[in-house]
């Protein structure tokens, strides 16, 4: 038995992947030839796709397809080995997560990462960008602190509204660590929205969420889209993907296998093969 071969050595270069991306006329996010290697293992192998402004795009694929690594490369958690990420027309490849967030590109985490020893309200109040009181001096000095307080009063109001929007306002003063799994997911969404983003990358926002909450979350996403927000969604629940995403990207072995709407994907034999573990 020989040593493991790097995946995909004999594959065609990324440009030949058939995509429907070109059909997206106003992409907000453009990923081009993204590669990421860990040691000798190639987790993402020349992934290219576009996400249209205001769209809800699904990113799916069997385990190990490279979805999470792609996510992490886009959001600056990992530095990609190659390729580019363009957001809103600018090259943002390899920028730190906080820079991306400031530009309006934010993410949630697969396992909700609430700040457990802080209250729910504190969690959401953390998020708004460029708060005046984030300056140490301004928050201490008399005179300036009053400005900080005025600024913060607005943040409080916005925070309450956001909590109400996600119907977790009754938990505002609770420590986030005391929330249930589903409530944490709602909190994470609420928090990320407080950054006033243009685009949100959702990493399995529905995992461990009960059906009622799930409906609620999906409704919220729909409402937010009407306000012009763009979403990229990694989700295992195929019903959700097929019923809600107008555009679906299927990844397999580190590359884009297929793209299109739900019908296209569901009738694509190669996608099914990939899911069933076939070699495509």
């Amino acid at each position: 038995m020989s040593d493991a071969e790097p995946v995909g050595t004999e594959r065609t270069p990324e440009s030949e992947v058939p995509t429907t991306s070109d059909a997206i006329d106003s992409p907000l996010l453009e990923v081009q030839g993204l590669r990421k290697e860990f040691g000798g293992v190639t987790a993402v192998d020349g992934t290219s796709f576009k996400v249209g402004t205001g769209a809800l795009t699904g990113l799916i694929g069997p385990n190990g397809a490279g979805k999470s690594t792609t996510f992490n490369c886009i959001t600056g958690i990992h530095e990609p080995t190659g390729g580019t990420v363009r957001f809103d027309g600018h090259d943002v490849t390899g920028l730190a997560p906080y820079t991306l967030a400031k530009r309006g590109l934010v993410r949630t985490f697969q396992i909700a990462r609430e700040l457990s020893e802080m209250t729910v309200l504190e969690n959401v109040m953390l998020a708004p960008p460029a708060q005046m009181g984030e300056s140490a001096l301004r928050s201490v000095l008399p005179g300036l602190r009053e400005q900080v307080q005025r600024d913060e009063a607005d943040v409080v109001e916005e925070a309450w509204e956001t909590l109400e929007f996600f119907e977790i306002d009754h938990l505002a003063h609770e420590n986030a660590g005391n929330l249930s799994g589903g409530q944490r997911k709602l909190l994470e969404m609420a928090r990320v929205l407080m950054t006033d983003p243009e685009m949100v990358l959702l990493d399995e926002p529905l995992a461990g969420v009960n059906p009622t909450l799930e409906e609620k979350l999906l409704d919220r996403i729909d409402e937010l889209r009407q306000d012009g927000l763009t979403f990229l969604l990694v989700e295992h629940d195929m019903d959700v993907i097929m019923n809600h995403c107008e555009h679906i990207i299927v990844m397999h072995q580190g590359r884009v296998l297929a793209e299109g709407d739900a019908d296209t994907i569901q009738s694509d034999e190669r996608v099914l093969e990939a899911y069933l573990g076939g070699d495509v």
Partner: protein
Amino acid sequence: MTGFEDVRDRLEELPDAALVVSFLVGIWLLLTALAFSVGGAQSANLAAGFVGSVTVLVGAYAILTLALNLQWGYTGLFNIGIAGFMAVGAYTTAILTAPVDPGAGGVPGFGLPLWVGLLGGMVMAAIVGAIAALPALRLRADYLAIVTVALSEIIRLFVNWGGVAEVQVFGKRFGTGGATGISFESPDEIVATLVNGPGQPLVTAAESVGISGPNVVNMAYGLSLLGIAAGSYWVLSRLVNSPFGRVLKAIREDETVTQSLGKDTRLFKIKAFMIGCALMGLAGALFRGSAGYISPAQFRPVITFYVFAALIIGGSGSNTGSILGAATFSALLFYLPARLGEYVPTFGQSAPGNVFEAVAALGSLDPTPLVAYTVSNVSTLRFVLIGVVLVYIIQNQPAGLLGHRNEPATSVDLTRPHAADGGEADE
């Protein structure tokens, strides 16, 4: 356990200022009572001595604990090089304020006024903190701990080194005094001048009840330190009860998330670390150097762990808890046992020279030598007590006296706006 919770519950009900003041007054009363029960004719003076010394300790430890709370309690930065940052502050202050022409045996300095020296000490401690922090902040918490403790030893060994006892740079002569240390403008002396000048009526009044002048000065010095601690508390409370403090807490909880929400966490961490180090530097100068003299031996790593003990007892993450912890540690665990050891009756028995003689006496069923020995060695045993308390707290009460309290990091009231309108806002 239940006793502890009982105490805690009662502490809960008081507003913070009342809590701290009543705690301090309680300690003063306790020491006064002790003085009056053992002091005879000298009681008043003895009490004043006790109160003065304990107040200096409480004040100094309060500043140190508050500083550590900002770094560890809020931001999660595990700094166990406190002694080193104290040394940087104290030595900078000393070098800046030591007389230009100190006379025989003295170490020359820059002869600047004390306030300039203290400011310089704080700035220098902050700078050294930043230099230590810049590369080390990306390390795991326990690695940062080891870097800081190693740095603090390097600092101590450096100022101890004869080669920098007195140097000449651009014709200017100054130095650390090496192992013998350095004398400089005494903060205590300044307070004494104030007390003996404008405060003379107070001294006269105190002397009329038998309290000596030096003890009045000592009390005044302690109160000054408490005042600085109160000022630090005020500054730090505003600092952490703000969006700035919110980011610090978020870093402690999960730095990756904080970054993903658009915060440049490194910047926040360095700021928090520098502010804490500056306060440590200030405490180093005013506490260790209160008498206008410092030497390397005063900055051994063990002080760092005393400050840690104080913070753990008070409750990491709470500023009020930090002050209570500092008071509990320095007054009840550090100071009081030593005084008790001096004054507790030993049944007329003088303590044997060592524990083996004391134990040997048990053979003839005479426990008094052992008791006498124990009492006379209380100042050693109190450290055992501190160790045991530390283990007990971390096992049973990891949140300390007040650390479990939820103190939301914000500068404003968090109740729902428009709540009075019956929630018509958005429903």
